[in-house]
Symmetry: C2
Subunit: 202 residues, 2 copies
DNA sequence: ACCATACGATATGTACCGTATCGAAATAAA
DNA sequence: TTTATTTCGATACGGTACATATCGTATGGT
């Protein structure tokens, strides 16, 4: 334990009054709501406590800072989310997965991960937690899926799976943060097509 | 004037003592140094004032907040930077430009733009300023260059220039922020090759 | 019964923000 | 030369948020 990353409920203490599991959910819900309503930066921990109807110490006893709370709120929402969707053909499954991610980013999850990614630039611990709990699990799944595609002869052999991920998914994060255009399905399809066929002639 | 974006030196007042141009540079230098040494989040405006040897009011008279200072420090450094490098062949020019950008991001500029991009997620005015003063000028140049490539028959015709930009450049920003790997020339070449030839077989 | 902890509430000290004000200096206009 | 206006360093001020500490009560294990 104590991997260095941000923890959720920390280790359960030995004796004494047990923690009310209801409170955990109330805090995460309040935090997620407030991030959407007033934004991560403006939201104070005290505001979360008031909204959740708990004392501020109850929050500090469980999380070290604001980012850690939002991090837990995010993974609690998204963990049961869709990952890779089996489709009739291999390539379409990738495209649908990209669409599904874009759809999530258009909604609540988009606001949360935008705040987390930004805050992670200033907080190495949060960056580690985000990488371990969000980024890397998805990258590992994608890598094995792309390797399967190369074995099947659908994808060009000898490619670097990491680079494939970046070419396909980085644009989604880019638009999410830069706001150079909407994260529409049409945009996803364009990125998908360009990356698949290549942008060079022939 | 007053476009809503963050301003630099604001309009010069009518009479009175003129502003010392030396001070402007001292502040920007101090801010850039401090961002690198202790990080954007930790850096206080007071610390910038002390480092630059000026009063805090002298800073508030010129910039509305911390992000605006760093923004100016960034563009002051990078404006005379390389944009598109003419090379012997069309495609190699793109690749070299991507490498040049990655090189800048590996150094001082990388830390600055990382902080600016992150902070822009919480500050709509900064987001606008960053888009107008950094992102869009470069996108416009890239668009015209890619359109030229399509006219010449080097790039696949009928592509969306915006999507081309994203496939090529978003991975660079992605690595800069996610830290999933180094922004090496080898990585740039991989992204370039994958995007050019496509990752699908045939 | 006893102990350890959770819980809400409140107090505390620190840090930074953004504004206001001061006296001196520098310049343009009268 | 005089006067008005602005910059400049310095400092005081009120406000807000953070993170910790403490109090009295509640809740459960041993």
């Amino acid at each position: 334990m104590k991997t260095g990353a941000l923890q959720t409920a920390m280790d359960a203490p030995r004796g004494g009054r047990p923690r009310d599991p209801q409170i955990q959910r109330a805090i995460l819900k309040a935090a997620a709501d407030l991030v959407l309503e007033i934004g991560f930066k403006v939201m104070s921990i005290d505001a979360v406590a008031v909204r959740a109807g708990v004392g501020r110490m109850t929050i500090y006893r469980r999380w070290p800072n604001k980012a850690a709370i939002v991090m837990d709120a995010f993974v609690a929402r998204v963990d049961p989310g869709t990952l890779f969707i089996p489709a009739k053909n291999y390539l379409d499954s990738i495209r649908l997965q990209m669409r599904s991610m874009a759809k999530a980013f258009r909604g609540r999850d988009g606001s949360l991960i935008r705040a987390l990614l930004a805050e992670a630039q200033f907080d190495p611990e949060l960056a580690t937690a985000l990488r371990e709990r969000w980024t890397m699990p998805r990258r590992r799944m994608a890598i094995s899926y792309f390797e399967e595609g190369m074995r099947k002869g659908i994808l060009r052999p000898g490619l670097d799976p990491d680079a494939i991920i970046d070419v396909l998914y980085a644009p989604i994060y880019y638009r999410l943060q830069m706001g150079t255009g909407p994260l529409s399905d049409a945009y996803i399809d364009e990125i998908f097509d360009h990356a698949m066929k290549g942008i060079k002639r022939e």
